[in-house]
């Protein structure tokens, strides 16, 4: 996985390779994983939000009910 194992060898090469992160050449896979995480986040949080809003809407609280929940700590 390591792209660089010896800095002296790396920097004294005729042409110094710029990319030094682990797994050079696997960028495509990393991007796919990143896209799945991004889209997945929207799906998961949308489900949570929808349930939360639905449940709260069913309770039909009035505009001032929240005041009884104000804490003093």
């Amino acid at each position: 996985m390591a792209t660089v194992t010896n800095w002296i060898d790396h920097l004294s090469a005729e042409e110094v390779a710029g990319a030094v992160y682990p797994g050079v050449g696997t960028e495509g896979v990393l991007v796919i994983v990143g896209l799945v995480i991004w889209i997945g986040w929207h799906v998961l949080t949308n489900n949570t939000e929808s349930k939360e809003l639905e449940q709260l809407a069913r309770k039909r609280h009035s505009a001032n009910d929240h005041k009884s929940n104000i804490t003093e700590w």
Binding site: E27, G34, N46, E49, H61, H66, I70
Partner: protein, 466 residues
């Protein structure tokens, strides 16, 4: 890097942009404080999280495609040929500033010993993206779903603003060539577009419950916490210093860049690679802030909320030409922008029943549009680029700055890339039933469950101490 002077120049530039990113972070801190201060107690925490979560959403999408769009779209495509490859197609070839290098799989989109600039430049632009999305965030508080806002934030932050930046905020942009567009510190490319986008959403989203009486008279739902609003706006001012610096290239040799044989001329430049000075723009920044505050205090009769916002609106209005204006011109333009923004805000509110909770459409949108139009008159005849001077509509050379071109540019920013996309996406989300929270939740407060849980926790803790 093996040459010491070249290395110093590169690492200075790298560090310069890095500092601007840190400073611009304060804009977002300020927006968060401002929004929470403007929202009602029962919505505080959701308001805060909505604005906070745009940070990761816009960042990852900016990495995946936003940055690529900026480098691919300067030609339109199809509107004016690039000066790099003389083609009007998307710029994806092997030329130096091609989008090819900025796909997410590129090895330049990572730690790369051969490139010290791309990452910090990417980040500076990203912070502009956050700002664009955050401007929209304030307008829609207390009734939009976090899901919908996330989608809209990505649309403005990683798609539409970056298209406008490619068109009008890029040395190779077609709007410079065909229209003579000039917008050095983003009156249009950030503020007008974000204001227009917010207005497009607001038309579909509708006002907060209770904002208008049954006869249509608007009611004031003023800031709940003026001190948080104050600190928030001061932080936005502070972050704006970074914004201004980030719009510049700190050191550039324009002689060889413009093809002038034997000429060496090092200077700071704006994003169009035309000369300005950090010193001069600092004067203009402060004078336009002052003009905005003076006019805001007067027109709003000392109302703190509008006075602070007017400081911002003043800077925004003068920003298009603050690379070249005289400081007193900046101040006067700022004052005009504030008057336009303030009057239009209340006129639109009454006439169209638009509930812009923090005045974002006015402060950013109307002041930004006014700034672009004024810039067309004040800088009429200046070159929009140093590379060449041509005439309007041709597209192979750069048109000079002119009132008509700037007016069309303002419409492109506010309406074409702002209002229309915002309205369409909001319509789609509304059609899916995902745009607005249920009426019952809006009345109860988005934080109702959180507050209830906190109360139960408090009871549990106090009972254990008896």
């Amino acid at each position: 890097m093996t040459d010491e002077l070249g290395a110093l120049s590169t690492i200075f530039t790298e560090f310069y942009y890095w500092i601007t990113v840190v400073l611009m972070f304060l804009i977002h801190v300020g927006f968060c404080m401002y929004e929470v201060g403007a929202s009602r107690y029962k919505h505080h925490q959701h308001t805060l999280m909505k604005n906070t979560m745009l940070i990761p959403l816009v960042t990852v999408t900016w990495f995946f495609f936003g940055w690529w769009i900026y480098w691919a779209f300067p030609t339109g495509p199809g509107l004016a040929p690039s000066i790099m490859n003389e083609s009007a197609a998307l710029i994806t070839d092997d030329s130096a500033f091609s989008a090819k290098w900025y796909v997410p799989t590129s090895d330049l989109m990572a730690v790369n010993l051969g490139d010290h600039i791309s990452g910090v430049f990417w980040a500076a632009f990203l912070l502009f993206s956050w700002t664009a999305a955050s401007i929209v965030s304030g307008a829609v508080i207390e009734r939009i779903t976090t899901f919908a806002f996330g989608i809209l934030a990505i649309a403005i932050g990683s798609v539409f603003w970056t298209i406008d930046a490619a068109w009008g905020w890029h040395f190779d942009g077609w709007m410079l060539k065909i229209l003579g567009y000039h917008d050095a510190y983003a009156s249009g490319v950030i503020h007008a577009i974000a204001g227009g986008f917010a207005l497009g959403i607001l038309i579909v989203l509708g006002p907060r419950i209770g904002k208008f009486s049954s006869s249509g008279e608007p009611r004031n739902i003023g800031p709940r916490n003026p001190w948080l609003v104050t600190i928030g706006l001061f932080l936005i001012y502070t972050g704006f210093w970074g914004f201004y610096a980030a719009c510049n290239i700190p050191i550039f040799n324009l002689g060889p860049e413009y093809g002038m044989e034997g000429v060496t001329y090092f200077t700071a430049t704006n994003i169009y690679v035309t000369p300005t000075t950090l010193s001069g723009i600092t004067m203009n920044f402060l004078m336009s802030l002052s003009g905005g505050l003076l006019a805001g205090y007067w027109i709003a009769k000392g109302d703190p909320f509008w006075t602070y916002s007017s400081g911002l609106a003043g800077i925004i209005c003068a920003s298009a030409g603050n690379d070249l204006y005289h400081p007193i011109q900046s101040m006067i333009i700022a004052m005009i922008g504030v008057m336009v923004a303030y009057k239009l805000h209340y006129w639109v509110e009454r006439k169209f029943k638009i509930d812009d909770a923090v005045g974002a459409v006015a402060v950013h949108g109307y002041a930004g549009v006014a700034g672009l139009i004024i810039c067309g008159f004040v800088l009429n005849g200046y070159p929009s680029s140093g590379y060449s001077v041509g005439s309007m509509w041709v597209g192979t050379d750069y048109a000079p700055i002119n009132p008509l071109g700037m007016f069309i540019g303002a419409i492109i920013m506010f309406v074409v890339l702002g209002l229309i996309p915002g309205w369409i996406i909001a319509k789609v989300l509304h059609g899916m039933g995902k745009l607005r929270i249920p009426r019952e939740v809006e009345i109860a407060g988005l934080d109702y469950n959180l507050l209830e849980a906190a109360r139960d926790d408090e009871k549990a803790v106090s009972s254990s101490t008896r």
